[in-house]
Amino acid sequence: MSTVVADSHDAHDEHHDHKPTGIKRWLFTTNHKDIGTLYLWFSFIMFFLGGSFALVIRMELFQPGMQVIDPHFFNQMTTMHGVIMVFGAVMPAFTGLANWMVPLMIGAPDMALPRMNNWSFWILPVAFLIMLSSMFVPGGGPAFGWTFYAPLSTTYSGDSTALFVFAMHIMGMSSIMGAINVIVTIMNMRAPGMTYMKMPLFVWTWFITAFLLIAVMPVLAGVVTMVLTDKFFGTSFFNAAGGGDPVLFQHLFWFFGHPEVYIMILPSFGIVSAIIPAFARKPLFGYASMVYATASIAGLSFLVWAHHMFTTGMPTFASLFFMYMTMLIAVPTGVKVFNWVSTMWRGAMTFETPMLFALAFVVLFTIGGLSGIMLAITPVDYQYHDTYFVVAHFHYVLVSGAVFSIMAAAYYWLPKWSGVMYDEALGKLHFWCSLVSVNILFFPMHFVGLAGMPRRYPDYALQFADINAIVSVGGFLFGFSQLIFLAVVLKCAMKKGEKAPAKPWEGAEGLEWTVPSPAPYHTFDTPPEVK
């Protein structure tokens, strides 16, 4: 295999756009654009798979009582939906965007470690095959939620837990390799004159995200290892009878889990910070403060993990500490929101699809952020904990936040990737369908949550029936709206559309717009000069 790679590599230097054809091109590719494309398609497939699991959940919850599936399968669906969306859809989408855009944005010819890049992608489908196959072993797949709390995962789980743990290990390795690649690329491969404080914010946010990944993915690997040995090898990390402590699991998990939340949102901030200035035709307001805000959010993310565990019983001092720290995060986040709004202030705005998604991101993410502040208040959290209010909160920040930003990014850079303009009418249709349905889907969840409907149950009390029916309708509308997005992307992939110029957006800035559309297989062989 190495000779094939080496040969094709030599060939690259001579024939500029030569590349192997067929399946080998994708299997052995070390090209950052190919790998970016692979990541993005993988994430897209996982998005539909995780989404269809969510529709199974919403189908069951359409009416009270047990309708379609049994409770154990319901639990498998909630678990798989969470795991696939977090590790299969959102994170790989960001890694794909980083692969495509970071080298183009900093004027580098490729990622710093192209062969490791190939590995970090190709182990991912393997991990998810293992994860999905766990649903077919006797006793069913993991049914303990994506947070796999002990003792649910250690004492009350099936044999599929071993597959779950193994798949998590592989995903973690993939993420860590991706993060190392991003850091080395950004530190070593910037074009001459591209100082740190000239880097586009997408590069900055990914740079910080990569450090978060390196800090917390190994802790996740440790936790799943402990779950594995507790379950199969008789250790007692989380088993009180053997001297362990199940609450320790939650501390370890959320020490990973909270920074993980920011891993899934910081690159979104970078995307929105690229798109809003482009369509407001003004430079980003407060560039430096954006960088510092991102770094402080990342730093604070290590000091707030126990706000997920207020109800485990904590001394008042600890509760207050985690409550204030959590509220403190609202400050740098608020800085960002104000900067985006200020960027638009008196700008010459136009509303193409990427801008629509970016604007929806700002509004809806802020709604999710505000419900987050409500959840941060310890005494109030006792009421909200483990209700649909929490579900509403994190879907606002993850679906209408992270996922919307990924869609915005896709519309913004699709002309660069494919060389053709996407279908603007379809794009706008996709946006409006998504915007309306996502709110029908998630906004009413606040109400049932406040009224006390607990999450993670396949059934609910009768008084919640009407709202749940509305939520389910919203869920199906949102799910099927995404087929429009698929159509848009497929049209671009099949090169059906108007030919895109090198810089299709009038106000866009950055090195990626200096190369032709579609971006040639090899770009920036000679580094550009950045003034």
Partner: protein, 191 residues
């Protein structure tokens, strides 16, 4: 790749990043003993000391206030006995020594080994609840169908913060027979 980038040496950054990965993996495991130590020092998880404390001779009884100590008991999953305190609660002054009996009855026709684990709520009271004698300090062998009375002698440290008027001492009694005799296949699969 151009010549310019071939010259850049990535190895030092990669080494540092890989070292960070290894350190963070180890840190995850280091958190286990750190958490244990932290809990021991602060009483954070409500687990009382595992060794007998000695009440000092000159300990003064603080008659100015009374504190209610409640007892709850639970049996570990699948443990074949009933386990309860003789009294639901006692009212006492800090510094006063009390004895409470716990009753256990093995319903099995074979001998088992039990281990009780204490937990105090609120956690901040943990450090002030001292036991001079407790069945939880060691494993309790129970003969077939044995009924046993297990005493627990304890006192509350007079330094107990004023705001604590009521605290709960809970015990879970686990069946650890299998762990002692080596983890048997049947026991771990029977759930």
């Amino acid at each position: 790749m151009s010549e310019q980038h071939k010259q850049t040496d990535h190895s030092s950054i990669i080494t540092k990043l890989l070292a960070s990965v290894v350190i963070m993996f180890a840190f995850g495991f280091a958190l286990v003993p750190l958490y244990e130590k932290f809990c021991e020092l602060t009483g954070f998880n409500g687990r009382t000391d595992n060794t007998a404390s000695v009440a000092s001779e000159g300990m003064l009884i603080d008659t100015s206030r009374t504190v209610t100590v409640e007892f709850t008991t639970r049996t570990g999953r699948g443990a074949p006995w009933s386990f309860r305190p003789e009294v639901q609660s006692v009212t006492m002054h800090p510094g006063e020594i009390k004895v409470v009996n716990f009753l256990v009855e093995n319903h099995m026709n074979d001998a088992r080994v039990a281990q009780a684990l204490p937990s105090v709520s609120p956690g901040t009271a943990t450090l002030y609840l001292n036991k001079t004698e407790c069945f939880c300090f060691e494993q309790q062998p129970l003969a077939a169908n044995e009924k046993a009375v297990m005493p627990m002698r304890f006192y509350l440290d007079p330094d107990l913060p004023d705001d604590i008027r009521r605290l709960t001492l809970s015990y879970v009694m686990y069946d650890i027979t299998d762990q002692i005799q080596g983890r048997s296949q049947t026991a771990s699969r029977s759930e």
